[in-house]
Symmetry: C2
Subunit: 205 residues, 2 copies
């Protein structure tokens, strides 16, 4: 029985790219196996936003943004003002939308999932407060982006590499293998959990 | 844009069936649209177990069991003794396995998901302690079985029918409709959440 592919991405290794409009920079956290920052079916990234301005278009893609650091942002999506977003409030919007971002109290850092809904079904949740968290999932891709202190993760009772702050753990099932089957995940952090859990399924499998 | 199909199943309406071996009774909570207690691709049920004994076989199906009431159980699966299960500890096993159940301190009531892994990918999680819980999901089937006090559920900001204790809320997406797209779910209970969340996706869609 083949094990899933488990990778730990370290925050210090994330490449950083300036935006074309000069309003910020993006660090790529992870993307689908075989993908790149230019061509992906899913991608996680961190952005540092230094000034008000527009977001890039990602045609045909779905996005979920969350403020990691800073006071917050106010988004205007296709001309409609949205409720202000403070830290850890995930907000979903279309990559086709015209989005303007206003900083509510100085620069922020945010965390982004951008994916193709034609290729994947997604689930995203911020986990806070609890010091223990358990679930069963058959997701073919499980991503844990840690925004807190050292996180311990078990999969079917086996401890996985421990992500530090802003590290990301990636568990990728292999088609037809154990990674494609239901597994029990358990998360623990003595200081309380502060992590974003993303689960992805192929649309066709 | 079509809305998903939302149903609230009331605990007082669950049909109850005695087991063939006389060791307990089963109440059917819900099953897949078009399914029945004899032929389903997923089913939720509550069982009252009055004495030690064997579980029925469900060939080709995956099971997840959780003790709702009572001290707990010790399962032996295909001859292997498993760790004792107390309340709210979900345990996954194959419906093909030979399972013997020993009561650790008198009769128990348990909650069961039984499904076909060829038809669905599943996710199951018990939600405890927190009084607020938010996630984004594109699951085509979302089930909330409430084991606590009155639960309030919002989907994309719209309040859904409120499940009382042992009621079950069922949100079923319609293919190609909004129910098949990413949605934000928010759960709240002033007394603290005590509910089981089940999300199912079709294997082929």
């Amino acid at each position: 029985m083949k094990h899933p592919d488990v990778r730990l991405y370290r925050a210090q290794d994330y490449p950083r790219m300036p935006w074309r409009n000069g309003g910020g920079t993006t660090q790529e956290v992870a993307c689908n196996p075989g993908g790149s920052s230019a061509a992906f079916t899913w991608r996680l990234s961190i952005a540092d936003v230094a000034q008000d301005g527009g977001f890039s278009l990602f045609a045909g893609l779905q996005r979920i943004i969350t403020v990691l650091e800073g006071t917050g942002i106010a988004l205007t999506v296709d001309g409609l003002a949205q409720a202000p977003l403070g830290p850890r409030q995930a907000y979903a919007f279309s990559g086709d939308a015209q989005v303007d971002c206003r900083l509510l109290g100085g620069p922020i850092r945010d965390f982004n999932l951008i994916y193709s809904p034609g290729h994947h079904r997604a689930r995203l949740q911020w986990i806070g407060a609890a010091d223990n968290w358990t679930f069963h999932s058959a997701a073919s891709t499980v991503l844990l982006f840690n925004a807190g202190q050292a996180l311990t993760v078990w999969r079917n009772g086996e401890q996985l590499p421990a992500p530090s702050r802003y590290d990301c753990l990636h568990v990728e099932g292999r088609a037809g293998s154990a990674g494609d089957e239901l597994a029990e995940y358990r998360l623990a952090c003595v200081a309380g959990l502060d992590a974003c859990l993303i689960e992805l399924q192929p649309r066709r499998a």
